[in-house]
Structures are given as structure tokens and as C-alpha cells.
């Protein structure tokens, strides 16, 4: 998929530039783009390193577990077909709390562990179960408290107040997550009716 997108973007650009007679611009653009890639990446380094350092403290002090415990009443509601006390629940909670803190790197291994446990409960090993779909919905519309990457990029381009998008991002991702869960419920309901 990525192969096609990347290839198409570049090939279309060259063809269009040829028609428009913008060949000099396209030469410049290729090198400028590569340079921007490097500068943006090093701009990200500062905030990413800072945030990951801070979050390691959160992890080690057990703050992540504390957050997981706070979220646990939600589980019964979101995953009605996972039995109480099943190991999947612990992993789902860690995955959700890591996502909330913007810890993508910690969230993924926990999410994968949760998937493995849900797969054990799954009747058909080739087809995703409703619980798996819900876990995925939570992860694709992840609520983020601090959008570190975008703050870093806004800083780099000289924003007066780089953090002013924190509130809008939080609200919008929260709303999107609610919608994702509602749509997930709708599909789950239809799915269960069809295959019963």
C-alpha cells in the first residue's frame, strides 16, 4: 500500500512538472524535501526524548497501573464477552492507559498481548472477534492527552504558543473515540444478529 502511494506521488509529480515546464522546481523540491525531513526529525528529538524520559518515570513508579485501575470499570461495558478476571483485561487496561499518556511504544506491546489473549477466546482463529474489533477501535481513535509530535513541529516553525492545540486535540480525539465506540457497537450488534 505504502509502496503504491509513495511511487504514485513521485511519478505523478514528475509527469505534471514536465507538462507544466517546472523541471527546475522539481529538482530543487526533491532536495529541499529531504532536507526538511532531517530538520523536522531533529526538531522532534528534543520533545520526544523529554517526554519519553518523563513517561519512563510514570511507568516505573506504577502510575500506569494506577491509571489502569481507574479505567477498569469501563472494561465490563466495552468488552461484555470477556470473562471477569481473564488475563486479557489486564493487558487491555495497560494498553488503554499507555495510549492515554501518548506512550505509543509501550501501548503496542500491551495491545499485542491483549490480542493474543483475545485470540484464545476466539472461536474462529482466522476471523476477528467482536472484542478484537473493539480493542482495535480504541487504538485507532486513541485519545491523546499531550500530542508531543505536533507541539514539537509548531515550536520549530516559530509558533507564539505551541501548546495551544493541546485542548483542541484532546476534545477532538475524545469525541472521535466516542463515535468509534458507538459505531463499533452498531456493527457488533448487526454482526451478532447475522451470525447467530
Amino acid at each position: 500500500m505504502l509502496n503504491i502511494i509513495w511511487l504514485a506521488l513521485i511519478v505523478i509529480s514528475i509527469v505534471v512538472a514536465a507538462i507544466n515546464g517546472r523541471m527546475e522546481l522539481i529538482n530543487q523540491a526533491a532536495f529541499d524535501g529531504a532536507k526538511t525531513g532531517v530538520t523536522v526529525c531533529f526538531g522532534l528529538l528534543s520533545i520526544l526524548a523529554f517526554w519519553m524520559g518523563l513517561m519512563r518515570i510514570a511507568e516505573k513508579s506504577g502510575l500506569l497501573e494506577l491509571l489502569a485501575r481507574a479505567l477498569s470499570p469501563l472494561i465490563q461495558l466495552l468488552f461484555p464477552d470477556v470473562p471477569k478476571g481473564h488475563p486479557a483485561i489486564g493487558y487491555i487496561l495497560s494498553n488503554m492507559s499507555a495510549n492515554l499518556l501518548g506512550l505509543g511504544n509501550a501501548a503496542t506491546p500491551m495491545g499485542l498481548k491483549a490480542m493474543e489473549e483475545l485470540q484464545k477466546l476466539n472461536g474462529d482463529k482466522q476471523v476477528a472477534s467482536p472484542a478484537m474489533c473493539t480493542l482495535l477501535a480504541i487504538n485507532t481513535a486513541s485519545i491523546t492527552i499531550i500530542p508531543t509530535t505536533m507541539i514539537a513541529i509548531r515550536m520549530q516553525y516559530g509558533s507564539v504558543n505551541p501548546v495551544e492545540i493541546v485542548g483542541t486535540t484532546l476534545l477532538s480525539s475524545f469525541a472521535a473515540t466516542i463515535v468509534a465506540l458507538l459505531i463499533d457497537r452498531l456493527y457488533r450488534y448487526r454482526h451478532v444478529r447475522r451470525y447467530r
Binding site: 513521485i10 526538511t36 474489533c133 477501535a137 477532538s172
Partner: protein
């Protein structure tokens, strides 16, 4: 509403920092050493993104400079005008569910072109920050346990991406128009 959102924006980071540090201190975590150890991970992550970001930034810059972007936006204009959707953000909205670094490259380009504190710059940042790369998450999570048929998960993911785009537009318009 505006005051609340800017209050959250202003306080979220300092409160998180103070809370994490104090909690760690109370739990007798060596905060300084732990911070340094974790920050090292930021270096690895950055190096891992670097080649992807270079590849995507080259493609996006070429696409804009060649005039292909104008052409695409020109084609979409009649539809978007009736929907009141800012045309500059269409490439970002389209690429967001497909590639994380690709959409990051587009968001960066928009912020560079229009300025971080412009309406488009703020909207691009909010949009990029409020959804995840659906296709990537689906591939990794389901691939890891050998699921072949993703059932309705992709549909849910894409709908929620659309919701993220619409909510970003509404919320940014509302919050920053005052």
C-alpha cells in the same frame, strides 16, 4: 468554552510533569536516572522515523512544487465548496488513515506554508494529533495473531477517522474564531 480549552492547553503539560515527578519521588523512583534512561529511547525512536520522514517529505514537496497538488485541489473544489471544507487539508485527511509519516510530512508542510498560528496550521496540527494510522494499527494488531478476516474493524476505523476530521474542523473553528 474558549477559556476552558485554552486553560487545558496551558495547564496540561506542567500539571503532568509535576504530578509524574512527585508521584515517582513518593514511590522512591530515582527520578533523574530514570528520566535519562527513558530519554535515550527518544533518540532511537527519532532515528527510526528519520528515513521514513525523508522519503515522505521528498514525495510531498515534489507533489506540491510540480503543480500536481493544485491540479488535485482544483478537481475537488466544486465538491468541497458545498461542504465548506478547507481544500488545503484534503491531502492530509486522505493520507491520515494510510500512513503515519506520510500524513506527518503533509501536516509539517502545511504548517511551514501557512504558519503554525494560522487557521490551517492549527487545524492541521489538531487533525494529525487526534487520530491514529488505522491501516497500520490494523495490520500490526491483527497480523500478530494471524487474523485473516478483519470482520468490520476496518470500517469502524475509517468512520472514526472521518469523525476525527470533522470534529477537528468544528472544534478548531469554534475555539479559535473568538
Amino acid at each position: 468554552m474558549y477559556q476552558w480549552v485554552s486553560l487545558i492547553s496551558l495547564w496540561a503539560i506542567p500539571v503532568t510533569i509535576a504530578f509524574v515527578l512527585l508521584y515517582g519521588w513518593r514511590k522512591q523512583v530515582p527520578v533523574y536516572e530514570t528520566f535519562v534512561e527513558g530519554a535515550k529511547g527518544g533518540l532511537t525512536t527519532t532515528i527510526r522515523i528519520l528515513p521514513h520522514l525523508i522519503a515522505m517529505m521528498v514525495a510531498v514537496t515534489m507533489f506540491r512544487e510540480s503543480g500536481a497538488l493544485e491540479l488535485l485541489l482544483g478537481l475537488l473544489r466544486p465538491v468541497l465548496d458545498t461542504l465548506h471544507f478547507p481544500e488545503e487539508l484534503v491531502p492530509l485527511a486522505l493520507l491520515r488513515p494510510l500512513t503515519g509519516t506520510g500524513s506527518l510530512a503533509i501536516a509539517t508542510d502545511l504548517i511551514a506554508q501557512h504558519g503554525p498560528d494560522s487557521f490551517l496550521g492549527r487545524l492541521a496540527a489538531t487533525m494529525q494529533g487526534s487520530t491514529d494510522t488505522t491501516l497500520y494499527v490494523l495490520t500490526v494488531y491483527f497480523g500478530a495473531v494471524g487474523i485473516r478476516n478483519s470482520s468490520y474493524a476496518l470500517k469502524v476505523g475509517l468512520w472514526s477517522d472521518l469523525a476525527g476530521v470533522i470534529f477537528s474542523l468544528l472544534i478548531v473553528t469554534y475555539v479559535f474564531s473568538k
